[in-house]
Structure formats: structure tokens, C-alpha cells
Symmetry: D2
Subunit: 157 residues, 4 copies
């Protein structure tokens, strides 16, 4: 995860300004995330952000399961949708929404935690195309359980 | 919704058998749906089923929202994923799972209810390709807010 | 196919104006299509257009095949891409391009002709979401061989 | 491109056998590719292959263009479809076909050459999920112009 780390004292002014802009954007992302009732309801947390990246984590509990005890595909598609939104929004520098995405499920997810990481691969003025990987953490090991690809568009002002 | 309606007395035996098979499959679908903890948690109900069709409804409440008061995309993608699973499973005649899907959001969803309807457009021996429309019901009127397309594969026995 | 038919004399002026606008748009679509070298090279023709619809046909010949004698998936994906572009462009009223699409192949295509029909299902100011069906014509009968769904965006002026 | 390189003399027998298997599979892939009339017609060449990877290149000429002089999206979607087929077929070890894919166009393609590279990210017994990047080569520099994601299924024997 390309989460930004706070800079030390020796950085140039220009660098400091850029750092602050990224800090501000990360804070903005956290604030938006925390104002999403559904993300709170489902139990997700924004655990990383960068200029073109976002990471959302979700501790797995019984209520996330489908009929066979695996994580429901809808939980995984929520992670794809929302992580893509944040990676794209960070790349576009403000309010944004996912206009479409596609997901392939690779293997059933179980374990203690889901981690979704999205990266804005192609960034234009008004839209960003993002790729997302969703991992389940089982016995301390990350297993890739789904991949997604989608478009984020800047919200009309 | 092509929900099957119970047949009257004059039907032929062959017809009755087929009816019973459809009844059994619908009952099987309901049973599976009710054993999905996530579908219970999110508040969805299987409100229709047919030989190649499924309908899932979800009364909208505050916990389904994103930061602007609309329904979160993850709720809508859950509906696409699961309604496609049931339409495909009914078409394939048994246990099945969505292996991939794609969704386009057409307009923000709000109102009192979401209704998702999926139909298996192409059915083979081991997989079904389904299309799904997701409507929000606002002031008693259905508005198309997303369309999806995906693949359901028969679960290994 | 919702191809517009020339109006008779009794129409109102407003109706005539609208008819002319549709005629103009269809002529504009034909002109664009005929200026696509790849569409000429592959042997496709724009065989229908309407306010939100387009139809492209392609007589099948040996050069369109893959290794087993069926039509190559790339020919079918060309039809999906381009028919979606024209349906979306007609709906948006001008120059447009497909920004993304997804296709599911339902059955191998052979026969004498392919016909692709796209419809703009969701139309906004700057983008249209379209659905497309691609048929092969075998022994005079249309068989659905693929379905697609994608986004068309208005070209920057 | 993870194209296999011939092994030197010191390899173990097991290694030699595996090398030969990969050589055989690459030769098999080339043979299939060369028996695709549409790939010959459009002017594409299989320029790389590995246990889970394929690369297809296409020198750009006038006949590949759309109305504005860029490469037609249908040419790029052909590359996505076919490169995904070969990466998946190599990963599955035999005859295979693309059952579905999704593509996002990132920027208009022009220049002298297109290069598409696909990798099988998730491989099961009967299907492989692949990701593909399509580059245009302009002034000797590769520019990412589209990304795709799709499913390849083993052909019925």
C-alpha cells in the first residue's frame, strides 16, 4: 500500500506543500469514508490512502457469510466498488463516484479479514480507471480472492 | 416478474409434474436465500422466482446510504450479484455461484425500496449468462438505477 | 430495429423538424461509419439507426474465422464496440466514443451474417450506457451469440 | 514478457522435462495462432508466450483506423480477446476459449505498433481469469492505451 508517510524536517518547501496536499487529501478521504453509513454498518475501515491508491479492510464476522459459510460475494463487491471510488477520487483530487465496474471472483473467501487495494491505472481530467485486488487473510496469509476493474468519474460541482 | 402461479385443476399430468418441479425449485431457492446471513443482515428478501428469473427486494433504510444520502453502490452491487446468482441457479437447476459480473450505475438511488430483477439470457449445461436491472421505487414509481450482466456457474457436486 | 421511416405529408411542422433532425443524425452516423477504414476493411455496414439505437451487419467470410471455423471473438467484439458507439453517439447527438464495454459470448457464431443491435438504455448529458445483442444468421434464423454492455462518452469539442 | 528462454546444460532431468513441456506448449500456441484466419487477416503475430502469459503484436496500418486516424477500438478489443485466450489456454494447458471480457480504453492509440500482454492471474482446473494490458508504441515508447480483464474456459474435449 502506497500510504504516505509523514516527511522529516529536511524536505524542501515545495515538497512540504505537496506533502500537506496529500495529507489534506487523505484526511478528506477519511472524513468522507466515515460519513458513509453503509460502510459503518458493514464494518469496513479505510486503512490506507495515497495519491492514486486506497485500501479498505473489513474484519469478517458471521453476518458477512453466504449459505456455505464463505464471505458473500456482495460483501466483496462492496469492497471493490468503494475501494475503486476512493482510489479514483484521490487521483482526481475530490468528490467522485464509481460509474461502473467489473469483478471476477477467483476463490471463496474466509478467514479473519478482507483487505481490498485499488490503484488508479489511468487518470484523465474527469475520470480515472482503477484496478482492485481483494484478499482474504487466512492464518496470517493473504490470498487473492477477487479482482476488479472500473471507472470513477469526478462528481459534478 | 415471471413468478410461477399455481396451476388450476385441468392441467395435464406432464404439466403438473413440471409445475411441481418449478415449485420445488422455487422452494429450494427460498430456502437457500434464507440461509444467507448477509442477505438477512442487509435486509433483503427473495420476492420472485421462475425457471430463469429471480427478483430480490430491499426496503431502504438509513444504514444503506453513502455520504450524500443516496443508496451506497455496494448495496446495489450486492443486489446485482445475488439476483444474478439466483436467476442463474434456477436456470441451471441447483447450487450455483456468480463467477463474475459487471455493473453500470445509471442514476443515484433513493426512495423506499430497491427491486432487482435478473433473467438468464444464455443457458448452457454448466453456466448461465444473466442480465439484471435494479430499480429504485420513489413515490410509487420504479426508476432504473443500474444494469448488470454476469456469469453463474453450477457449483461442483 | 427502430429505424426511422420517412414521414408522410400530414405531419405537423414540429414533427417535420424532429424528423429532419433524426434524418440528419442518421445521415451523420452513416457518414462517420463510412469514414472508418477498419469498418470497411472488416466488411461491416451500418444497417439501421434511430434516436437511441444502431444496427451494424457483417456478411461472414473465411477471413473472419478462428482456428475451428467459427467467427473469431475479435470480430464479434468489434461489432459490440462499434454498435455501442453508434447507439450512444446517436443518443448523445454527436461525436462520441466507447470508453469501456463488457461482452459475454453465449455460443459459437457461424452462418452467413452477423447482426449487432445496440440500444442506449441510460442517457445522461455526457454519457450513455448501452446494451448490445449480437446475432448470427444461420439458415435464415437469428441466433443470439453474444451480449454486451458499455459506456459511450461525448467527444470533447 | 515472461517468454521462456532455452535452458543451459546443467539443468536436472525434471527441469529438462518441464522445459520441453513449456516448449511444446509454446509451439502448440504458435500453431493454433497461425491457423486463425482472422489473426492473419488483421495482421497480428504471437510474439511471446509463457506458462501463464501471452503477447500479441500488431503493426499499425491505415486499415486499422477509425474516423479520426486513431486505431479503431475493435482492433484493440480483438487484441484483448485473443491475448487473453492464449494466456488462459497456456495456463490451462490446452484448447481454450474466452467466455467473457471487459475492456477500458485509457487513451487513443496511434503510432507504429500495438503490443498486448496478458497474464493468467487466477487459474483453476477448468477456467483462468486473465488481465491484459494493450500498449501503443509511439516514437519508440510504449504507452498504455487499454486494460482488460476476462475469463478463459477449457474447451470441451
Amino acid at each position: 500500500m502506497r500510504t504516505r508517510i509523514a516527511a522529516s524536517g529536511g524536505a524542501t518547501d515545495a515538497h512540504n506543500l505537496e506533502e500537506r496536499a496529500v495529507d489534506d487529501l487523505s484526511a478528506f478521504a477519511r472524513q468522507i469514508f466515515e460519513s458513509q453509513p453503509f460502510s459503518q454498518f458493514i464494518g469496513a475501515r479505510l486503512t490506507g490512502s495515497g495519491p492514486r491508491d486506497a485500501e479498505i479492510s473489513l474484519p469478517i464476522s458471521g453476518q458477512h457469510q453466504q449459505q456455505h459459510g464463505f464471505v458473500h460475494g456482495g460483501v466483496i463487491s462492496y469492497l471493490a466498488d468503494n475501494t475503486i471510488t476512493f482510489a479514483g477520487g484521490l487521483a482526481l483530487g475530490g468528490n467522485a463516484l464509481t460509474s461502473e465496474f467489473k469483478i471476477n471472483y477467483l476463490k471463496p473467501a474466509r478467514g479473519s479479514l478482507l483487505v481490498a487495494r485499488a490503484h488508479a491505472t489511468g487518470v484523465g481530467k474527469r475520470q480515472a480507471v482503477c484496478q482492485c485486488e481483494i484478499y482474504s487473510v487466512e492464518d496470517g496469509e493473504e490470498k487473492l480472492c477477487a479482482i476488479a476493474q472500473g471507472t470513477v468519474v469526478a462528481a459534478a460541482q
